[in-house]
């Protein structure tokens, strides 16, 4: 089976769609050979996974070499693919039938276009840097080899997810990254909180996956195939009934909410920080959590038509994103753990992306995904570096003043923060600004307001984090020191795109719009690209700066009113936030304990009194009434009478038949001859 797939994929030019890209591609180009071999991207890390498992322990670096080689290859291939795509190439769609059921086929294939290439670059870059970072961060770890194996498997699964051309293959990748996330979060499973967190992550995303699979099945029955391009075509050309589209979109949204940590399934992401920091950087900042956003972007036709996004007003997608971005930002204020701050920040930024998709700003959302991957990974790796120095604690209360000891970490962290807050000309500004622009132009007023408030809060809590960690006096034990090169070099590498990459889509350049666009063949569908609005840009910058100012005032200059936190209603709000809106309480005490406590007791009471009462009553009734009746009437008279009658009848018949046994030979002989005569006559008559 694998051989036939390999054969068909190696054959050049099969099922390649010749289509024109948007904007700058005038000529009808054939698909580039590099892009056609996109199936190599998931394959190489998958092979590396098995290789590390089998050989890793014997190698001098315990398998890390294989992982680094594999991810290095994929990184180079991704860069090559990017160059090929930018240079002009047709979209590659290749597939082969893996399994045919007579009624439907299950295909395996690749679909390489701008979005895919962008994801390639993101995933491989961050993965490669994480591989390098982990060499130092997990030095001497007892499960070093398995860690690298899991990293390889994760990379392979994520690449499979982004290169898939049909929903089934995408779901396979989706589930596999969930499994890898489980494995990696629970890497130090000897401590119960870690394994609990891993389980929570897996189960929460599983809840979402129900919606995902039901949505995929709905679309299959609506369109007749799992192929994403076909689904988009059908959705955008009125080939699917609107009710069905809406149902499918809502179901898929459930899966997205699980995987991309949208309200109310966001609860797993902060707990997932129990895993090693490089894992958090790779999986829970840059790649896995954006799988949901990617799914929406990929099947945007379904969502656009299903939620009627072009008609303005609020829709479920925008609402989910807007709510998420707001509540997560609020929660980031009350965290003491630096990773948890970043986790809530991630949830909030994912909310931005989903909200952007909800307002029709497709390119803005994808661009934000792109930029966010770099600076969030940078921030997480920076947090890891900080912890490495501060004796493996993440509690900001035990940090402080670290900028004196860790200059490289400090400066890269600052760059990441500024990018996140959205100050121009750094990356985050351009992408976040486009989202707000899309909200404004599409008359999504609520989203605009929420987004702006969220921007303020982002700047504020990041400022808080920076001040608590790097400024003031060091509150921990011992003397912190700068981290070794293997940790700081990835930080510096990531700082570069955080600074500059936003310029790709700056007004006047806007290359990103050309390279990554939502395009469905044979369907006229055009998403608005709005012109740069300097007024809005200025306002959003001012908001961000204001956020930093407030943070400085409260946390650096300590100018906040004393005892503010103790006073009501601030105290109540603070507690509410600290308890994470009591969502976990609802889950644990409400649902679980409610079932264990009152419901269980009630059920027991019913069992003892009602059910047992019925059983006992039936027993007594049987004894007193039913049994005598059965014996006297049914048994003695009916049944015995019947038997007596049968016996009597048999006896009578026997008496009759006995007369044939006369004992007289001549009688027997008579019968014999008569029979012979009759038989003979019959035979003679018949023949």
């Amino acid at each position: 089976m694998l051989a036939t797939i390999a054969q068909s994929l190696l054959a050049e030019g099969e099922h390649v769609v010749d289509s024109v890209g948007e904007g700058g591609h005038e000529a009808l180009e054939a698909a580039s050979w590099i892009l056609q071999q996109g199936w190599l991207m998931p394959l190489v890390p998958a092979v590396s996974f098995f290789a590390i498992l089998f050989f890793g322990k014997r190698l001098p670096r315990q398998g890390a070499e294989i992982g680094l080689a594999a991810v290095g290859f994929t990184f180079l291939w991704a860069v090559l693919s990017a160059f090929e795509w930018i240079g002009g190439s047709a979209v590659v769609e290749r597939s082969t039938t893996w399994f045919s059921n007579g009624r439907f086929d299950i295909d395996v294939g690749i679909h390489v276009d701008g979005l895919t290439v962008m994801m390639f670059v993101v995933v491989t870059t961050v993965s490669a840097l994480v591989h390098v970072y982990s060499l130092e961060y997990l030095r001497g770890d007892q499960r070093f080899t398995y860690y690298y194996a899991a990293l390889s498997l994760f990379t392979a699964s994520m690449l499979n997810l982004v290169v898939a051309d049909n929903l089934l293959q995408l779901i396979v990748g989706w589930e596999l990254v969930g499994v890898c996330s489980f494995m990696l979060i629970g890497h130090w499973w000897e401590e119960k909180p870690n394994s609990d967190a891993a389980l929570k992550a897996f189960l929460t995303t599983r809840v979402g996956d129900v919606g995902l699979m039901l949505g995929a099945i709905t679309l299959f029955f609506a369109v007749g195939t799992f192929n994403i391009e076909a689904i988009n075509q059908a959705a955008l050309s009125d080939g699917i009934r609107h009710g069905l589209l809406l149902t499918a979109a809502c179901l898929l949204l459930l899966g997205v909410a699980g995987k991309s940590a949208q309200f109310p399934l966001h609860i797993w992401l902060p707990d997932a920080m129990a895993g090693p920091t490089p894992v958090s950087a790779l999986i829970h900042a840059a790649t896995m959590v954006v799988a949901g956003v990617y799914l929406v972007a990929r099947t945007y036709g379904v969502f656009f038509e299903g939620f009627s996004i072009d008609s303005g007003g609020i829709n479920l997608l925008a609402l989910t994103g807007g709510v998420t971005l707001f509540i997560a930002a609020a929660l980031a204020f009350v965290q003491h753990d630096i990773k948890k701050v970043l986790a809530y920040s991630t949830v909030s930024q994912l909310g931005y992306m989903i909200a952007a998709l909800g307002v029709g700003a497709w390119t803005a959302a994808v661009f934000h995904l792109f930029t966010h991957a770099f600076f969030k990974a940078l921030l997480f790796l920076g947090a890891g570096s900080v912890s490495h120095a501060a004796h493996h604690t993440f509690d900001m209360r035990e940090m402080g003043g670290l900028r004196k000891y860790m200059p490289r970490t400090f400066w890269t962290f600052i760059i990441g923060t500024v990018a996140l807050a959205g100050i121009p000309p750094l990356a985050g500004f351009w992408s976040k600004d486009e989202i707000l622009l899309g909200a404004k132009e599409g008359d999504f007023g609520t989203i605009l307001i929420l987004g702006s408030i969220g921007a303020f809060m982002t700047a504020c809590y990041m400022g808080r984090t920076v001040f608590l960690t790097f400024f003031g006096e060091y509150r921990g034990h011992g003397t912190p020191h700068e981290s070794p090169g293997l940790i700081t070099v990835p930080l510096m590498i990531l700082a570069v795109p955080s600074l500059l990459i936003g310029l790709i889509n700056a007004p006047g350049i806007e290359k990103f719009n050309d390279w990554v666009a939502f395009h469905v063949p044979d369907v006229t569908f055009h998403l608005e690209h709005h012109d740069f609005d300097p007024g809005l840009a200025l306002i959003s910058t001012v908001i961000a700066v204001f956020g930093f100012a407030v943070a400085t005032w409260v946390y650096y200059w300590q100018k906040a009113p004393k005892g503010l936190l103790e006073r009501q209603p601030v105290r109540a709000v603070h507690t509410f936030l600290e308890q994470k809106y009591y969502l976990d309480h609802i889950a644990v005490s409400g649902i679980a304990a409610g079932t264990a406590g009152p419901i269980a007791r009630g059920t027991y009471w019913i069992n003892q009194h009602v059910i047992d009462g019925i059983v006992n009553g039936v027993g007594v009734a049987t004894n007193r009434f039913l049994a005598p009746f059965t014996y006297d009437v049914l048994d003695q008279e009916l049944v015995d009478g019947m038997y007596d009658d049968i016996a009597g009848a048999t006896s009578a018949v026997g008496g009759l038949l006995r007369k044939a046994q006369s004992g007289l030979i001549q009688r027997y002989a008579l019968v014999l001859f008569a029979a012979v005569g009759a038989g003979g006559a019959a035979l003679a008559y018949l023949t």
């Binding site: 001549q666 009688r667 008579l670 001859f673 008569a674 012979v676 005569g677 003979g680 006559a681 003679a684």
Partner: protein, 164 residues
Amino acid sequence: MGPQNVAFGIIAAAMIVGAIRVVTTKVVVHAALYLVVVLAGAAGLYVLLAAEFVAWAQVLIYVGAILVLLLFGIMLTRAPLHPSSELDNDQRWPALVVSLGIAGLLIAMLADAFQDDKVRITNATGTGEIADSIFNQFVVPFEVVSILLLGALVGAVVLARRDD
């Protein structure tokens, strides 16, 4: 109507009358004598059919030995020598029906099967011919019949002896 047919007619009539008398007479000894008529008639028929040896054996064995045996039996069982009305049992009439039925069946079938076939007697069957047949083809049945006779002899003796 050749002389053979006439002879046949006479013998046949005698045989049938004799047989009917065997099964209907009220005197047991008379039955035995009528049986002689039947047996002798059979021998005559065999002569008509030019089966000399069989005719001779018929007379010798049947009339000579078996009939005597039957007379001994009559004697030893104290059969009534006078006419007795107790010689027929209750199922006379059903027996008559059955026998007539079988007769009719047989005659009908035979008439249908051998409508106008003639018996052509080319030469008399000599004893030598029969002897050849017995001792060439049927030697095993011959020996077996010898043993059968021996068995019958011994059996009869054993059955009939007194136990004291």
